[in-house]
C-alpha cells in the first residue's frame, strides 16, 4: 500500500493530480479541508465522470470527522447532535471526561472531536471502517490539519488502504481547530513537519508537484528570492513584477475590473474588484493581479526583507503572489487610502 504525502507548490496542479488518481474501479474517499475546495473538487469530479460515481465519496474534513469517525459508533451513546464550531469554554475537565468534548446542548467541540475519538478507543474501528469501504484515501489541503486533527490523520493513515495526502506547507495560513498547545508548533519548521510524516511511515514526496503551471518564471523567482519559499515554474514565460510608484497608476489599477486587488485584510472596504490574501487560496482564474501591502510589509518589501515577515503574513503573501498567471503589480496601501471607507 502506497502511503505518501506530496508537498505541492501553488498552481502545480494538485486537483488535477488527485482527480487523475480516480477511476471507476477503485473505491476512493476524498477529504478536503475547506468548503470552497470541496465544491471545486466536486465540480472537477463531475467534469471527469459526468456525475459523482458511486465508488467515489467526497467529504469535507469535519463531515468526515463527525459523520464517518464518530457518528456511526457513538452518536446514540453520547446523545450528540452535531458539531459546535465555537471555542470550548475554559474549564478543567480531564481528558477522559466526556463533558470536555460535548457541550451542554449535545454538540461536540469541533477542535476536540479528534481527541475524543482517540480517547474513546475508536481508532481501530475507524481504520476498519476505511478498509471496509475504500481502497484509497485522498486528503487535500493537508497543510491545514493542525491540533488533534493532525494526530488523527497520522493514526488513520495506518489503515490498510492507499493513502495520498497533498498540500502546500506554505499555504498554511491559520489553525482553525487548535486546542491548547497540541501541535501548536507544527507549522513552525518544515523539516520537523516532514519528519512527523516519515515517522508515521508516510513517504514524503517533494518532486511530483514542485513546479507551478500557473506562475511564470519571474513570479516564481520573485517568491523564491523574497519569501524564501522554493517554487519552480513549468512555463518559461517572463512576466513583469511592477512596483507601483505613482498615484495615477494606482488609480488606474483601482478602476480596472480585470485586475484583482489583493489586500491583507478587509478588502471589501476599498470598493473595487478585490479579495484578501489568505482567502484567495484555491482561486485559479486570475490573470494579472495587484498586491496591496500595509506599511510594515511595504517597508520589508522595499528593503528586500519580506522573508522576515511573521510566518502567517509570509504564507499569506505567498498565497497572494502565487495567484498570478500574468503580471503582478505591487502597491503600498498609501496609494489606496483615498478609496478606503
Amino acid at each position: 500500500m502506497d502511503k505518501r504525502v506530496v508537498f505541492a507548490v501553488a498552481g502545480s496542479g494538485k486537483t488535477t493530480h488527485l482527480i487523475s488518481k480516480l477511476s471507476l474501479d477503485k473505491r476512493a474517499l476524498i477529504v478536503t479541508y475547506t468548503e470552497n475546495n470541496h465544491r471545486h473538487l466536486r465540480n472537477s469530479i463531475i467534469k471527469k465522470f459526468g456525475a459523482i460515481p458511486s465508488n467515489i465519496t467526497l467529504m469535507t474534513y469535519f463531515g468526515f470527522l463527525h459523520g464517518f469517525c464518530f457518528r456511526p459508533f457513538m452518536q446514540n451513546e453520547m446523545n450528540t447532535r452535531g458539531l459546535n464550531f465555537r471555542a470550548p469554554p475554559q474549564s478543567k475537565y480531564p481528558l477522559t471526561e466526556r463533558k470536555r468534548y460535548r457541550d451542554p446542548g449535545g454538540r461536540l467541540y469541533h477542535n476536540r472531536l479528534a481527541k475524543l475519538i482517540e480517547v474513546e478507543g475508536l481508532l481501530p474501528a475507524v481504520r476498519a471502517r476505511i478498509e471496509r469501504f475504500y481502497d484509497a484515501v485522498y486528503v487535500d489541503e493537508v497543510q491545514d490539519f493542525a491540533g488533534h486533527d493532525f494526530n488523527l490523520l497520522l493514526e488513520i493513515s495506518a489503515a490498510n488502504a492507499e493513502m495520498l495526502f497533498v498540500g502546500d506547507f506554505y499555504q498554511h495560513t491559520f489553525d482553525t481547530s487548535r486546542d491548547g498547545t497540541v501541535n501548536s508548533t507544527l507549522h513552525k519548521d518544515i523539516t520537523k513537519y516532514e519528519k512527523r510524516f516519515s515517522k508515521a511511515k508516510i513517504k514524503v514526496d517533494k518532486e511530483t508537484l514542485s513546479k507551478s503551471w500557473r506562475c511564470g518564471t519571474t513570479v516564481c523567482d520573485f517568491i523564491t528570492a523574497h519569501l524564501q519559499i522554493k517554487i519552480h515554474s513549468h512555463k518559461d514565460r517572463v512576466a513583469e513584477i511592477i512596483k507601483v510608484d505613482t498615484q495615477e497608476l494606482a488609480d488606474r489599477l483601482h478602476s480596472d475590473h480585470s485586475i484583482v486587488k489583493l489586500f491583507q485584510e478587509q478588502h471589501y472596504k476599498y470598493g473595487c474588484y478585490s479579495q484578501n490574501w489568505g482567502a484567495s487560496k484555491g482561486q485559479d482564474h486570475y490573470e494579472n493581479i495587484c498586491i496591496v501591502m500595509g506599511q510594515k510589509a511595504w517597508k520589508q518589501y522595499e528593503e528586500g526583507k519580506l522573508r522576515e515577515a511573521v510566518a502567517q503574513t509570509r504564507n499569506k503573501l505567498y498565497v497572494a503572489f502565487s495567484r498570478a498567471r500574468g503580471e503582478v503589480y505591487v502597491v503600498s496601501d498609501k496609494l489606496f487610502k483615498a478609496y478606503k471607507s
Partner: protein, 522 residues
C-alpha cells in the same frame, strides 16, 4: 437487491419489544387476530418510506405502545422515563458507508435504517416537565417528534431509499391515498428518473400549450383576467396518472380484482429498469375468490428478485408458499419461526390437500383425529367426559387429518410447543403402529392415544363394543347381509352422524379417547 434481514421494534403499537429475522425471499406472517401482523408491515413501511407526513397523519398516539404509555403514567412521570418508539430495519450489507454503523438498538455494526418517535426533550424539556406536573392525566404527545436515520447516525431521507418497497393493503386498496401511492410507486420504478422527469415536463408543457392554443379565443375577449390550467404539486402527471387494464381504469374494478392486478403489475419484471425490492402484502386473500387466490399464490411463489412480506390468515397461502417461510406471531410478543421444519414436512404441506395447518399452528392445545367419523363425534364425546364443557371453552382445537400425516403435524407441534393428543386406530398392532412408529416423533407435550386391544383395531369397532345397545338399537333393524359392526365400518361418516343426532345422550367414548380428553387439559 438489498434484502431486509431483520426488524427490531420497541414500543411500536402492541409490541414493547420484538425482533423478527427475515428470509431473503418469502416471509409469511401468520398469527391470530390482534397479534400484530399488520403492525409489522406498517413498521417496515413507515421506516422505509421515511415520510414524516405519513407518520404524522397516522398520529403518534396510535403508534406509540399504549402499554408503555400506561407504564409511564403509573411511574414517577419524569422526563427521562418518557417512552420512545424505535423501528430498526437491518439490511443486507452493501458498499455504501452511509448505512453502516452501530446506531441501532442492538449495537451491531451493520447496514440499516431506522425511525424513532421520541420526546423533544432538548427543545421543549421545561415545557414538558411543567405539563407533566400540571396535568396528572396528560401525556405530552404534542411534544414528540419523528426522526429517520441510518445506522451510521446520518439522516435517512425519502428521496434516497436503499430499499424500494410497496405496501398493498387489501383492506384499504381502494382508498384514494393508497391508490395514488401505488400508482406513484409503480410509475417510479417503471420509468427511470430521466424518463420520468421528461414525461412530467412534457405533461406540464402540454397543459400550457392547451392554454395558449385552445383557450386563446376565449381568453382573447377577457382582458386582464384569463383562464389558465392548473399546474402545481396537486395537479401534475403523478397526480393525474391512473393505471388501466384493457382500457378500463383498475380503480373501477372490484376490490379483489384490484388487489390481484396490483400485485401482478408490481411484481412484473422490468429487465434492466429499476425494480421493486420489497413487496408488503396485507391479507391478500381478502376480496379474492378461491380461484383468484390460487392464481395469486402461484404468482407469489414464482417471484424472484423481490422480497415478499405477506400477512395472512389463509392456510392455503402460507402452506403453499412453504411453511418454512412462515413467521408465527404469538400473543406474548414472541415470534416463532418454522424455518427448522424439515424439507419433507414442508413439501408435504405444500403438496397435501388444503388443510388446517394454520389453525393447528395457532392453537395451544389440539386433538388430532384421523377420520370423519371421529371428527363428527369427538365434540359430543368431549363434552360427555369433561363435565359438559365444550372443547372451545377449554381452547382445545379438534383437527381432522389424513392418517399418514400425524408425524408431519407432530413435527410442527414440537417446533411450536403445541400440546397435541393424537387419536388414531391401532390397525391391529398397537405396539407396532402406535408406539414404535412414533418413538422419534413424540415430545413432552405430545402423546398418541389408541386402543391397546388388537381386536379393537378401529374407532368404529371400539365404539360399537362400548355402545352395543345404542348401535344395535339404531342400526340392527333392516340389516340382512351385514352385521351392525360391518355396517358401521362400511358407512363410517353416515353412521357417526346418525349416532350423533339420535343417540348422543347414551354414547360413551372408548377408554383411550377418554384418556386423551383428560390428558389434553392436564
Amino acid at each position: 437487491m438489498p434484502a431486509i434481514k431483520k426488524v427490531v421494534l420497541q414500543n411500536f403499537k402492541r409490541f414493547e419489544s420484538l425482533t423478527l429475522e427475515f428470509d431473503d425471499g418469502v416471509n409469511v406472517l401468520i398469527g391470530d387476530n390482534e397479534t400484530g401482523k399488520s403492525s409489522v408491515l406498517l413498521a417496515l413501511d413507515l421506516a422505509l418510506s421515511a415520510s414524516r407526513s405519513r407518520v404524522e397523519t397516522i398520529g403518534y398516539e396510535s403508534l406509540l405502545a399504549q402499554s408503555a404509555v400506561r407504564a409511564f403514567q403509573r411511574g414517577p412521570r419524569t422526563l427521562d422515563l418518557l417512552p420512545e418508539l424505535v423501528v430498526d430495519v437491518f439490511l443486507e450489507e452493501g458498499d455504501e458507508q452511509g448505512y453502516y454503523g452501530t446506531q441501532n438498538l442492538t449495537g451491531a455494526m451493520t447496514d440499516g435504517i431506522g425511525m424513532t418517535i421520541a420526546p423533544l426533550v432538548e427543545e421543549f424539556g421545561s415545557t414538558i416537565h411543567q405539563l407533566l406536573q400540571d396535568d396528572p392525566e396528560g401525556f405530552p404527545y404534542e411534544y414528540y417528534g419523528v426522526k429517520f436515520y441510518t445506522f451510521s447516525g446520518g439522516p435517512h431521507v425519502s428521496y434516497r431509499r436503499p430499499v424500494k418497497h410497496l405496501l398493498l393493503d387489501s383492506s384499504r386498496i381502494d382508498s384514494e391515498y393508497a391508490a395514488r401511492e401505488y400508482t406513484r410507486t409503480v410509475f417510479s420504478f417503471n420509468a427511470e428518473p430521466p424518463e420520468r422527469f421528461s414525461l412530467e415536463n412534457r405533461y406540464r408543457r402540454g397543459k400550457e400549450a392547451f392554454r395558449d392554443e385552445e383557450l386563446a379565443t376565449l381568453n382573447a375577449g377577457l382582458g386582464d383576467y384569463q383562464f389558465g390550467v392548473r399546474t402545481s404539486i396537486r395537479s401534475n402527471l403523478e397526480t393525474d396518472l391512473i393505471i388501466t387494464k384493457e382500457g378500463i381504469p383498475i380503480e373501477n374494478r372490484g376490490k379483489g380484482e384490484q388487489c390481484f392486478i396490483k400485485t401482478e403489475f408490481a411484481l412484473r419484471r422490468h429487465g434492466a429498469k429499476g425494480e421493486l425490492h420489497a413487496l408488503l402484502l396485507e391479507e391478500p386473500e381478502n376480496h379474492l375468490s378461491h380461484t383468484k387466490m390460487k392464481l395469486l399464490v402461484e404468482q407469489l411463489a414464482n417471484t424472484a428478485g423481490t422480497q415478499l412480506f405477506i400477512a395472512t390468515h389463509s392456510s392455503h397461502i402460507c402452506s403453499r408458499l412453504d411453511l418454512r417461510h412462515a413467521l408465527l406471531l404469538g400473543s406474548e410478543q414472541q415470534a416463532g419461526r418454522l424455518k427448522a421444519l424439515t424439507e419433507p414436512t414442508a413439501s408435504f404441506f405444500m403438496k397435501a390437500p388444503d388443510n388446517n395447518v394454520l389453525e393447528f399452528a395457532l392453537s395451544k392445545k389440539v386433538i388430532l383425529v384421523e377420520g370423519d367419523a371421529e371428527f363428527i363425534l369427538i365434540e359430543e364425546l368431549y363434552k360427555k367426559h369433561s363435565n359438559g364443557r365444550t372443547p372451545r371453552a377449554d381452547q382445545v382445537h379438534i383437527i381432522s387429518i389424513g392418517g399418514t400425516s400425524f408425524k408431519r403435524y407432530l413435527e410442527l407441534g414440537k417446533l411450536l410447543g403445541i400440546r397435541v393428543a393424537a387419536i388414531r386406530d391401532n390397525d391391529g398392532d398397537y405396539q407396532q403402529h402406535c408406539v414404535e412408529n412414533y418413538k422419534d416423533n413424540l415430545y413432552k407435550e405430545a402423546r398418541i392415544f389408541a386402543d391397546p386391544d388388537k381386536d379393537r383395531s378401529t374407532f368404529e369397532i371400539g365404539l360399537y363394543h362400548d355402545n352395543k345397545d345404542a348401535c344395535d338399537d339404531l342400526f340392527a333393524a333392516g340389516r340382512k347381509k351385514l352385521t351392525v359392526q360391518e355396517y358401521m365400518l362400511k358407512n363410517k361418516a353416515d353412521a357417526a352422524f346418525e349416532l350423533l343426532t339420535k343417540k348422543s345422550a347414551a354414547l360413551v367414548a372408548p377408554q383411550y379417547i377418554q384418556d386423551a380428553i383428560k390428558w389434553i387439559n392436564e
